[in-house]
Assembly symmetry: C2
Homo-oligomer: 307 residues x 2
Amino acid sequence: MSLLIVGSVAFDAIETPFGKTDRILGGAGTYISLAASYFGIQPKLISVVGNDFGNENLELLQKYNIDIEGIQIKKDEKTFFWSGKYHNDMNTRQTLVTELNSLEKFDPEIPDSYQNVEFLMLGNLSPVVQRQVIERLTVRPKFIAMDTMNFWMNIMLDELLKTISMVDMLIINDEEARQLSGEYSLLKAARKILSFGLKYLIIKKGEHGALLFSENQIFSAPGLPLEEVFDPTGAGDTFAGGLIGYLARENQITFENLKNGVIAGSAMASFNVQKFGVEQLLDLNQKMIYERLQQFVQLAHFNYQPM
Amino acid sequence: MSLLIVGSVAFDAIETPFGKTDRILGGAGTYISLAASYFGIQPKLISVVGNDFGNENLELLQKYNIDIEGIQIKKDEKTFFWSGKYHNDMNTRQTLVTELNSLEKFDPEIPDSYQNVEFLMLGNLSPVVQRQVIERLTVRPKFIAMDTMNFWMNIMLDELLKTISMVDMLIINDEEARQLSGEYSLLKAARKILSFGLKYLIIKKGEHGALLFSENQIFSAPGLPLEEVFDPTGAGDTFAGGLIGYLARENQITFENLKNGVIAGSAMASFNVQKFGVEQLLDLNQKMIYERLQQFVQLAHFNYQPM
């Protein structure tokens, strides 16, 4: 039931065809924690921010039941800043600014109260930092999931493969799966990536949903058709947060639970893209989530009796 | 239970990264009929071929329980010929040759024995020809589905919209849905296209599956992850054939049956892309289809109980 999340806490400036924001709260750790917080657990967050982060943002995270003891505040540095622009189809984005700031020399520290966690979600960070977290936990969590991105495949593939071999589940998108495996077919890509030492692999396909692979099973989760995607920022992190939050609440890893976790993550991500930044994640309730989950059930359910 | 299919019967020459074929049996009417023939009904086919078509091909269609009385043989013309080349990702194809030949002045004739059919599937053809078939049936079938393509949207949109308004269900791909509606969001596109006078719309998304829309409901069918796609030719037609074959067999139009029909069509299409041309469609049996349908059930099934 205990869940540790490691990931960036940042400021984002986002531009989409629908509008523009200036320095709003962002970062993978923020999205993952907020999404997970709706599943009846208190996520413990490990991250780093600068002197500009502000108490109001820390208090906001606490208000959403996130344990912030693991957030380091670097007095002489600034918070990680990312700025990006989405084009009309929302599928391509251009990074305008990346200022790593306090994230550049991030040395993750595990507070004593964070030891013995059962679930660990490693947000997209350097695979070296991700591994340090695993190594600094005195007891290996019973389930470790991780995200990564093509950037790490390009500049430190060996480190990445080493970290992948230490976790249970990898969550990446289709393009990343193709790059990591060198295979175009997602089925072949999945087999190859699983052979890197994983029990489970999730391949996210944006509006087309997500695929969950184990050695012998495949599950395809639908994408919910939406009127508009206002801002895709953090959708993948929100997906991971809903998924790991669900798993931590259920506290049992079976393929059936993983399927449901993928649905939970998909539902949370479908909310997230409907407003800018974390705005929608700050304004959800259990009734809304219940109804969205029902929509997914209706969307995917059929009762074919092959003859 | 009676099913009428209208569509081209053709020769195709196909090149994919996996190989090359010369003048093999093809055409929308062929793929649709062959796929439908596995659902325990005798499809009646309306089409036209030239003097080069050959009795062996007609006998082949008959061997698969297809009623060929409605295939006109034009003694002074040649059979429709299409040649195309697929690129590495199989998502883009280049048309090398299109010789309409006997299809150019196709004037569909309805044999008396074809009157009073209950299900009608209009394969991709000029919307004028599609409409002629509807008008030449003395009794409107209880369910009419049609396919079309961007070509007709470009050159005779008014005729196309007129034909669409006369059918129950339209089956197109995502790109065509966006072009026909002028909307990028498939949800908005679907609402707009349904308003053209349809009860149901299916949007095919290739490897990402298919979406089924009615006024109030949406169903998302998964795409089955495959090792390889050898040849996508006819996948959309095979999908339509499996779908309409299933519906004609069940003989009842409900949203639940349509969902199952979409799964049946997806299963048939997943077979079709695994070999060149109609090769795999000529070599299926009920056990293979049953097992493939089971794979779809396992792929999509989950049992989330939202709390």
